[in-house]
Amino acid sequence: MQARVTVTLKTGILDPQGKAIEGALASLGFSGVGSVRQGKVFDIALEETDPARAKAQLDAMCEKLLANTVIESYRVELV
């Protein structure tokens, strides 16, 4: 089973890298960009075939390692 985990900074957490990218987009002439938030994507291949159990495993991975929940939130998708 294939999964995609997306980790992003929580709302309200300052994202200086996102801000820098926002500035670079503006300097390239892309107008109308409200804001940019940078995050991380993990593509994970699992042996598990049961979607519920796979989801539980992925949530545990996020809580223990993939995200630091002090500042980041995560989203798990089975693909």
Partner: protein, 231 residues
């Protein structure tokens, strides 16, 4: 004094720490590889600076899950002093031994220069040779030292007198200009709830003898020596 410096792949201030501990405590620390699942009885554990695992995922994130960290957490729970400097501070936060997290410097730049620190509490094994309010100069060298925690955690840190150091001017004022990396409330170092775990971004081990230009970091190690001899 039986101390140990934990060495991770990518640690690079481990030998500076070894030198400082040897010079000030009189005993050379054991250098312990991160893959060790157990630790001998120790009076002090140090997580040194560096770029463990190349800062992959998040600074300190992979090191915090390495085998030795379970033993470090067990020792900390028994009251053994644990000191984390720079990457060591990042590892302690990622391991959950200290609250909050170190984010990218607000300036987005790697900072390598001297800063001034104000001692906010002398009530810890690491700071008792200082007086509250003492200001000393010490170097920083990091890209991710911007300390952040939620409001509840900050209130607890302040309320329980657990902020050990703040970035200040030479005159001892916690101004925005003195805040090297954008840390919330100029926080440079914090203590655990039992006060036996200290994490700080600056490098006191690099300010211990006149050749360093200043000896302001020396008293941190002297604090530990006195504490442990007394205990």
């Amino acid at each position: 004094m039986k101390s140990a410096v934990i060495v991770f792949p990518g640690s690079n201030r481990d030998r500076d720490m070894q030198y400082a501990l040897t010079r000030i405590t009189g005993d050379a620390p054991q250098m312990i590889w991160h893959a060790e699942p157990t630790l001998p009885p120790l009076d002090l554990i140090v997580l040194p600076g560096g770029f463990s695992y190349g800062d992959y995922l998040r600074t300190g994130a992979i090191a915090a899950r390495s085998p030795v960290m379970r033993a470090v957490a067990d020792a900390a729970a028994k009251g053994v002093p644990v000191l984390g400097v720079c990457n060591g501070f990042q590892i302690l936060c990622e391991a959950g031994l200290l609250p909050g997290i170190l984010m990218r410097n607000a300036s987005l730049r790697f900072i390598c220069r001297d800063v001034h620190l104000r001692v906010e509490t002398a009530d810890s094994p690491f700071t008792r040779a200082y007086a509250k309010g003492d200001v000393f100069r010490t170097p920083v060298a990091h890209g991710e030292g911007n300390y952040t925690a939620d409001a509840e955690t900050l209130a607890r840190l302040n309320g329980e007198d657990r902020v050990a150091f703040r970035y200040v001017t030479a005159a001892g004022e916690a101004t925005a200009e003195a805040n090297a990396n954008g840390s919330v409330e100029n926080i440079a170092g914090i203590l655990s709830d039992r006060r036996n775990v200290l994490g700080l971004m600056p490098h006191p081990e690099n300010m211990i003898e006149p050749a360093h230009g200043n000896t302001g970091g020396r008293r941190l190690f002297e604090s530990l020596t006195h504490t442990l001899v007394a205990a």
